[in-house]
Assembly symmetry: C2
Homo-oligomer: 279 residues x 2
């Protein structure tokens, strides 16, 4: 990866047809790359801090305007850093302006509906910035690895996802989807660190290792899902995430670009308030 890397080099191409989609592979992206790093962890932290202040400012304009909506979808294997990204990138953002929807194993009530039902309820409202910590994409990954859905059902789900995201986009939602891309080695290190530190055991369940045993299958399933659902209005980006500081800087840069594309302005002054003196 040359120094001139652009964010768009990490966008999953908008592809039509099964053939083109099958050509997309995550192996073409190095999880250890740091194309948007400022050169060191410290420099990255400074860069992130400057982005974070801008994000806070943009979020306030979004909120003031109450017209656009912004949705950030975070996906990735266990330990890829979804929680860490939220913590680091949105540190400066007003808690009032941020809503995080975490999707866990569906409850019986959720499972009794279609797979987009619980997700739709969490869509951002006008003026909101919402983060999906995992999302509807779990439903084209886990059931696939477990052999619970066949190719026809998967194809239908990809189509449902594209249509659903188009509905959100048509309603004024800017959508950014980030796949946090780590290597199997990096995951081993992070899992081992959690096991070796007894105070972190509460974060860990032996069932977490199930997905690791199917690493290659998950990489393929992710690649296919990303290729099948990366669209102009809801693009996927592959974020090299072995370096946490790079991951944070890149997600912040992508989100800032989305915000800037919205041309957010503060609403105009109200004539009705001109010259009023409060008694």
């Amino acid at each position: 990866m040359g120094k001139r890397a652009r964010l768009d080099d990490f966008q999953v191409p908008f592809q039509n047809g099964d053939q083109a989609r099958k050509a997309f592979s995550l192996a073409d992206f190095d999880p250890g790359a740091k194309p948007f790093s400022a050169g060191s962890k410290l420099a990255d932290r400074e860069r992130l801090a400057s982005y974070a202040v801008k994000l806070d400012e943009m979020q306030e304009r979004l909120h003031a305007q109450r017209r656009e909506r912004v949705l950030l979808v975070l996906q990735g294997m266990d330990t890829s850093g979804k929680d860490g990204t939220i913590r680091a990138v949105f540190h400066e953002v007003d808690p009032l302006g941020l809503r995080i929807a975490t999707f866990r194993v569906p409850t019986p009530d959720e499972a009794a509906h279609d797979f987009l039902w619980r997700v739709h309820r969490q869509a951002p409202a006008a003026g909101e910035l919402t983060i999906f910590n995992r999302s509807h994409y779990e439903d084209v990954l886990v059931p696939r690895i477990r052999g619970e859905v066949d190719a026809d059902e998967l194809a239908r789900r990809y189509a449902h996802i594209r249509h659903f995201e188009t509905l959100l986009a048509d309603s004024g939602t800017a959508i950014l989807k980030c796949f946090l891309h780590i290597s199997k080695d990096q995951q081993r290190e992070r899992l081992q660190a959690r096991i070796d530190d007894e105070t972190k055991h509460w974060k860990f369940d032996l069932a977490d290792l199930e997905a690791r045993e199917h690493w290659d299958a998950y990489q393929s399933a992710y690649a296919e899902a990303l290729a099948a659902t990366s669209t102009e209005r809801a693009p996927w980006y592959v974020v090299p995430a072995d370096s946490k500081s790079h991951r944070n800087v890149m997600v912040a840069a992508l989100l800032l670009r989305v915000f800037e594309s919205l041309n957010l302005e503060y609403p105009p002054a109200k004539a009705s308030l001109q010259g009023i003196t409060i008694k």
Copy 2:
């Protein structure tokens, strides 16, 4: 207010009987007092920063333990600083560990239910820290000033609130309720500042002035509501809030005390994870 002020001096007494309640008056509290200030805005900011780091640590334990719940209720007149408190005090807290429920004018669906229905849905789950930005207390204030509820209905609502909060407490919820107490003069300054700064007009509606016109009635209604619903397990505190930095320090100190009373510990190490090596 002497230098030896204790937080409990600002607790609304747990009173039985209408007579005792009627004796409670907000006029006994100086909105301009700064009993928990460190001496200057800068020193307050440093104190708040140290509290904020502790709050973040406590919130992580709460989340790890997934047993207790914490609910902070913020009430106060317009411009008393509910939003500002959330922004300042919870700046360091992991966005993943914080949920803010803002209660606006009820929607038709909400209004078609009892007044606690929409509030109950927002109660914190195990391991959650939830902030109510306004709350069910609006329903013993606004309708009262507008003459939409009589004394009998008010008394029933106070009782419903006490029972509801006891239900939450019995289910493991620590409840802290803060009334952000500002003076009418301070509100005038803050409202005028919003009018004079055209970029802040989006925050302002002429209807906001309606409550100001009934200032004294609101102070009485608040005093009665606070006295009627301050209980051992869901106490109200009057937070002098003309000084923003004092307000932030005091709310953080009150919340820290609640967290400390919970004796939150990280869950024990899991025997099943001992000695495991990830491959």
